[in-house]
């Protein structure tokens, strides 16, 4: 087998894995979009916020230490304890639920029935707000996140492929873990939205807030629920990405990697997020591999978008998105 082909296969495999990581972020978007027609720009910041909170709790950091110290002239930074990862994750989850409640209570509740773009703007405002709060709360320096996930090359795969192709493939263990978690998440979420009463209510809310209210669906409840689930997804994404690169501001920018995935898969489709992620992941990695060197590289940022764009021209609602209803 030609060497280039083997390389391409490795690139494809890695693209698939990268795609899964994108999909993890995209999932959060899909959930909220499905439930409220809101394009939640704050999803990336939520991942950052979740990861920062997780690290803060694990390390026993005092929230808002900097502000407290600046105002009262004290020097408190740490409670002096550390908390095991699993417990910390649960606590963080609780924080995310509180956040969901607060978002609903203070923002979304007052914007029922507004146009999508207004809601979108509100989430951008929320993103700013959360970003500021996260920094004030936990500080803006880089934090190392280690919840015990394996990382680094998967030796088994390396060996197997080496025996077959004479070239060992590189697959990151973390990516494998992410893939498994993503598969589980997607399965659970699809089942939830398609086959449960709450899932149906969630989709109803997305279509028509007023009508949903009129049949007795409590927007409050649905939205808190959905934002909590989205918060959970954000936490998972935050853990994955945070483990890779440390927890810091840039974590929130992974949202930008999720957008083309969303477009391609369809804003409303949970399986779409994963399929879209895979296509984008493979597409951009292959393009960078094959064409990148000719045009000077760093094509990944735009290629994903252009790929999605070209795709959309032929299928305006994405792969699995709900057909845009055009009737008069």
């Amino acid at each position: 087998m030609s060497e280039q082909l083997v390389f391409a296969m490795e690139v494809i495999l890695n693209g698939l894995m990268a795609g899964v990581l994108y999909a993890l972020v995209a999932l959060g978007f899909v959930l909220i979009y499905k439930a409220s027609g809101i394009f939640n720009y704050a999803q990336g910041v939520m991942a950052l916020f979740a990861a920062m909170t997780l690290v803060g709790i694990m390390n026993g950091q005092v929230p808002f230490a900097h502000v407290i110290n600046a105002t009262f002239g004290t020097h408190v930074y740490n409670f002096g304890w550390t908390i095991p990862a699993l417990l910390a994750i649960l606590l963080t989850m609780a924080v995310m639920v509180v956040l969901a409640w607060a978002v609903q209570q203070f923002v979304m509740r007052h914007l029922v029935g507004q146009e999508p773009i207004i809601l979108f703007m509100a989430t951008i405002g929320l993103a700013y707000f959360l970003e500021g709060v996260a920094d004030l709360m936990w500080g803006s320096e880089i934090k190392t996140l280690d919840v015990g996930l394996p990382q680094g090359i998967n030796l088994w795969l390396d060996e197997v492929t080496f025996n077959i192709f004479g070239y060992g493939f590189f697959i990151d263990n973390l990516d494998i873990v992410a893939t498994v978690i993503a598969a589980l998440l997607v399965g659970a979420l699809v089942a939830f939205s398609q086959y449960t009463k709450q899932g149906r209510a969630m989709r109803a809310v997305a279509d028509d807030h007023q009508a949903a209210l009129s049949v007795g669906i409590s927007l409050n409840f649905i939205w808190i629920m959905v934002w909590s689930v989205a918060g959970f997804v954000a936490l998972v994404a935050g853990i994955m990405w945070g483990t890779k690169s440390g927890v810091q501001f840039s974590l929130s920018l992974i949202a930008l990697k999720a957008l083309p995935v969303l477009m391609l898969g369809g804003f409303t489709s949970i399986p779409g997020a994963i399929v879209g992620g895979l296509i984008i992941g493979v597409g951009e990695k292959l393009f960078e591999f094959a064409i990148g060197p000719m045009v000077g590289g760093a094509t990944e940022n735009w290629f994903a978008y252009v790929l999605a764009l070209i795709f959309l021209v032929f299928r305006p609602q994405g792969l699995f998105g709900e057909k845009i209803i055009e009737r008069v």
């Binding site: 029922v112 997305a206 049949v215």
Partner: protein
């Protein structure tokens, strides 16, 4: 089975009581200027009036849906079974048995017809079997829906959507239904059917109705009591039978003059308009 006499007896018990409410949209547009009405248990109460009279607004005020339209009730009180429901969540009202069929259908476009109907049963806690039974009942009322059960509601015709909206409300097994213009856009046969269903539900299941309707003719035929709304005020009310005989109502809402129904071709000359206010 209840007969007509019993129905009138039960009317003594008031389910819904709207007391002198005022509604303002956008902080500036005053739409309802003191509307009071009562809906007795087991009765069909009609709310009549021209375009923009405030019928929809009244219904929305009752079911607490004004909020999302930037409207608010600034004065007066709304009581259901004696309890104030003015500030409560719309969902609470549905749980209490009051459901609204909104004007202009408001189907969930991306859900299938059947899923639409099922969302109607959202607040119900009496199990899947009962819900399934009611689903069959709705399909019985509207066979057309059964044919289209798997299509997305957004693609069904206007009339079909109206049926979906009605059916969806029925799925919640309500005690009181607020019906906003159920006849709009429906074929005559279907209008009769829908009102037939209203009557059935009312007589057999004891469901009470508050009915906003432009089609005064039909509405007064089925209702027990009527209110006539104009520019945000109640200008006349009385038992349906009386209203039907009122000469003004006859002329302006039923399109009848002393010689019987006029042809639409004959009303071309510019006419005197009757306004109570």
């Amino acid at each position: 089975m209840l007969d007509a006499a019993q129905t009138t007896d039960v009317q003594a018990e008031t389910l819904l009581e709207v007391n002198n409410i005022e509604v303002i949209y956008n902080h500036v547009i005053l739409v309802l200027k003191g509307v009071s009405l009562t809906v007795p248990k087991g009765g069909i109460t009609a709310l009549l009036g021209g375009n923009g009279a405030g019928k929809t607004t009244t219904l929305k005020a009752v079911s607490n849906l004004l909020h999302s339209e930037r409207g608010e009730v600034t004065k007066g009180s709304i009581k259901y079974r004696g309890q104030s429901v003015h500030e409560s969540d719309p969902a609470v009202l549905v749980e209490k048995g009051v459901i609204q069929v909104m004007e202009g259908r408001h189907c969930f476009e991306h859900l299938t017809v059947e899923e639409n109907l099922l969302t109607g049963a959202y607040t119900r806690k009496d199990g899947g079997a009962a819900i399934q039974r009611d689903l069959e009942l709705v399909y019985n009322y509207f066979p057309r829906l059964k044919e289209r059960r798997r299509s997305q509601a957004g693609y069904t015709s206007g009339g079909e959507q109206q049926m979906v909206a009605m059916g969806r409300a029925l799925m919640s097994r309500p005690e009181t239904i607020l019906l906003d213009e159920p006849s709009m856009g429906l074929a005559p046969q279907l209008v009769e059917e829908i009102f037939g269903i209203v009557k059935d539900l009312n007589e057999q299941e004891g469901v009470s109705f508050l009915l906003a309707e432009q089609n005064t003719n039909v509405a007064l035929r089925f209702a027990h009591y009527g209110y006539i709304l104009e520019s945000g005020r109640v200008v006349m009310d009385g038992p349906a039978a009386e209203l039907r005989e009122n000469p003004d109502v006859k002329e302006f809402y039923l399109g009848m003059s002393d010689e019987g129904r006029k042809s639409f071709r004959d009303v071309r000359s510019y006419r005197r308009r009757k306004r109570w206010l």
